[in-house]
């Protein structure tokens, strides 16, 4: 079953084409890596899929809803963790969970019970009443991810979730992503770390607003005759008109 289907999606800002006629689809439960150099159009494409940005042309269906006409319904069935850290720093850990759970309509009783469980799983019991601004970045990112899937969305969009996070925490973060995937949540993730790309079921690589490659990491390595995803990425990125090389 396809949970994301995109056909000829395009976004232009004036004369600049940020996303150029991309088409792809994502299966339910998949971990889909969305790769590309800075400015390749990843974030723009993701924002269109989340209903934050209107496409110039083309169509997209996310969780069964049209992103152009039913964006509010799309929003009810997805989770989103943005590039910028987006929890409220002046709210406590449990208050952030309660706020977002409440917004998505999770009942108060369920929220209370599951907050306990979640904090235990994360090993955050002691931080329940800490203000989010007092937590280290890695902890915040784990918390932000947990909050973004607290309402059991069918898809979660992660925009560079591990930027600036240490390798140990990154590892733990990916374990959390696998757990979410096992629960049946489709994971759509952008990243700059090529080792992380290896963890994905399939990856797409964007160059200058277009998707230049889309397959499983193993097939891509074979196709490009590369030892690892890093080499695949560099071979593709070299073709870009605006990479300054």
């Amino acid at each position: 079953m396809k949970v994301i289907e995109v056909e000829n999606l395009t976004k232009k800002f004036g004369s600049f084409t940020a996303v150029d006629n991309i088409s792809f689809s994502v299966e339910k439960g998949e971990i889909f890596g969305f790769l590309g150099a800075n400015g390749a159009g990843k974030t723009t494409a993701m924002r269109m899929l989340c209903g934050l940005l209107s496409p110039t042309s083309g169509k997209g269906v996310v969780a069964g809803y049209d992103i152009l006409h039913d964006s509010e319904k799309v929003k009810a069935s997805i989770g989103y963790m943005s590039q910028k850290f987006a929890l409220y720093e002046d709210l406590k850990v449990w208050e952030n969970i309660r706020l977002y759970a409440g917004i998505y309509g999770v009942s108060e009783k369920e929220t209370r019970e599951r907050t306990q469980l979640l904090l235990a799983e994360l090993g955050f019991e002691k931080e329940r009443n800490s203000l989010v601004k007092s937590l280290p970045l890695g902890w915040r990112q784990k918390l932000a991810f947990s909050v973004s899937i607290f309402h059991n969305p069918s898809i979660v969009f992660l925009d560079e979730p591990t930027g600036g996070v240490d390798p140990v925490t990154r590892r733990q973060f990916w374990e959390m992503i696998y757990q979410a995937s096992e629960r049946g949540i489709t994971v759509f993730v952008t990243t700059h770390y090529m080792d992380e790309a290896e963890y994905c079921n399939r990856v797409s690589i964007m160059v200058d607003g277009r998707i230049d490659a889309l397959d499983s990491p193993a097939s891509l390595r074979k196709e490009f005759g590369a030892a690892d995803m890093d080499e695949v990425f560099r071979k593709l990125a070299r073709k870009s008109k605006n990479n300054g090389l």
Binding site: G51, S82, I103
Partner: protein, 363 residues
């Protein structure tokens, strides 16, 4: 959904180090200090006296001017040129020149001339100063001439509603409005733009929160805070000046509720168009100043040129200032304030409708 968002707003407000304190201190500051400094009564006018006569009468006149309380005789100059230097150096505001043979002329011919020159760079000070001085001289004139003993007409004015013509009583109700506008206009505007800058608004925009719910979550807290601030203003005015409204407090609260709603709505409109705090501050200051000058807070609207009077209908502050002054000083009731009621209601609907429509969850 609204419940959770409101909880969040209140927690953030009370956790903020500065905001709760400002909300309490600002009304006190405004009510206790502003009326004393924003006062149009002219006192302490620096006067230079050029006494070319040096007679008994000229000295008596100088003494009378000094004792009036309005003038401070800063220097006594030998000639007019020297006195003008004082004006040029800004040590003196006015010159009173008593010509030579002043006493002789009065005694012999029954008439004499005095010269008054005023520095009119500050028009009010110059104009009022000359008028005061002319008044004092006229009074002096009456004392030395013995005519008009019988049948002299005395006018005793009676000032209604503010019998002692206290400037503070006129200013305080209007200053309450200014405080309310500052708190309820700036805070919601800066709050939303702050969320834009920190990126948290994007996280809210990607949830299924309804636009109206989001706007209400920003509006209601400042509405309540507005009531608290207004109540503090009432208390401060009562404690400092013994000023209590002649009319009913309920009328004031009703109109204040409408005003806060409309002005917070205005703040939200600004926040929807500003992308940075700097832009939002700049826009708010521009409009707030325009609204204040058009409102009749300092100068009566009826004194403005025709076009400005017409323009003043766009200032929500004008209507609420009318209400507060009327209820505080005259005791007007709801039925006498209908125009203000309809105008403020119209502003509330207009600005809040605009705020909901211009708030974009999707760009």
């Amino acid at each position: 959904m609204l419940k959770y968002l409101l909880e969040k707003e209140f927690k953030q407000f009370f956790r903020n180090k500065a905001l709760p304190k400002i909300a309490v201190v600002m009304p006190f500051m405004a009510i206790l200090i502003f009326p004393l400094v924003a006062n149009f009564e002219i006192k302490n006018i620096n006067l230079t006296v050029v006494d070319n006569d040096k007679s008994t009468i000229s000295r008596e006149l100088t003494e009378k001017v000094r004792s009036g309380g309005y003038f401070r005789i800063s220097e006594v100059a030998d000639n007019y040129q020297e006195a003008m230097r004082g004006i040029e150096l800004n040590t003196s505001d006015m010159i009173l020149e008593i010509p030579a043979y002043f006493e002789r002329d009065i005694v012999k011919e029954g008439t004499a001339r005095l010269y008054i020159a005023a520095n009119a760079v500050s028009g009010t000070k110059g104009g009022l100063g000359s008028a005061y001085l002319a008044g004092i001289v006229g009074d002096f004139n009456k004392n030395i001439s013995t005519v008009l003993k019988d049948g002299a007409i005395t006018i005793s004015p009676r000032f209604w509603y503010n019998p002692r013509l206290l400037y503070t009583h006129f200013m305080v109700p209007a200053l309450m409005v200014m405080v309310l506008a500052m708190v309820c206009g700036f805070l919601p505007a800066l709050n939303i733009v702050g969320e834009k800058e920190s990126g948290t608004i994007e996280q809210i925009n990607v949830t299924p929160v309804k636009k109206l719910t989001f706007i209400l979550s920003k509006l209601i807290p400042y509405w309540i805070i507005g009531f608290v601030v207004l109540t503090i203003c009432f208390l401060a005015a009562w404690m400092a000046y013994g000023l209590v409204p002649v009319g009913s407090l309920a009328t004031i609260y009703l109109f204040a509720a409408l005003f806060v709603l409309s002005f917070s709505g205005f703040g939200l409109v600004i926040s929807n168009y500003a992308t940075t705090l700097q832009q939002a501050m700049f826009m708010m200051f521009f409009f707030l100043l325009t609204f204040i000058f058009m409102s009749g807070l300092y100068t009566p609207v009826a004194n403005m040129p025709d076009w400005a009077q017409k323009l003043s209908i766009i200032s929500p502050l004008k209507y609420i200032i009318i209400v507060l002054r009327q209820v505080y000083l005259k005791g007007s009731g709801f039925s006498e304030l209908l125009t203000s009621f309809w105008m403020l209601s119209a502003f509330a609907v207009f600005f809040n409708g605009w705020a909901v429509l211009s708030y974009r969850k999707k760009s």
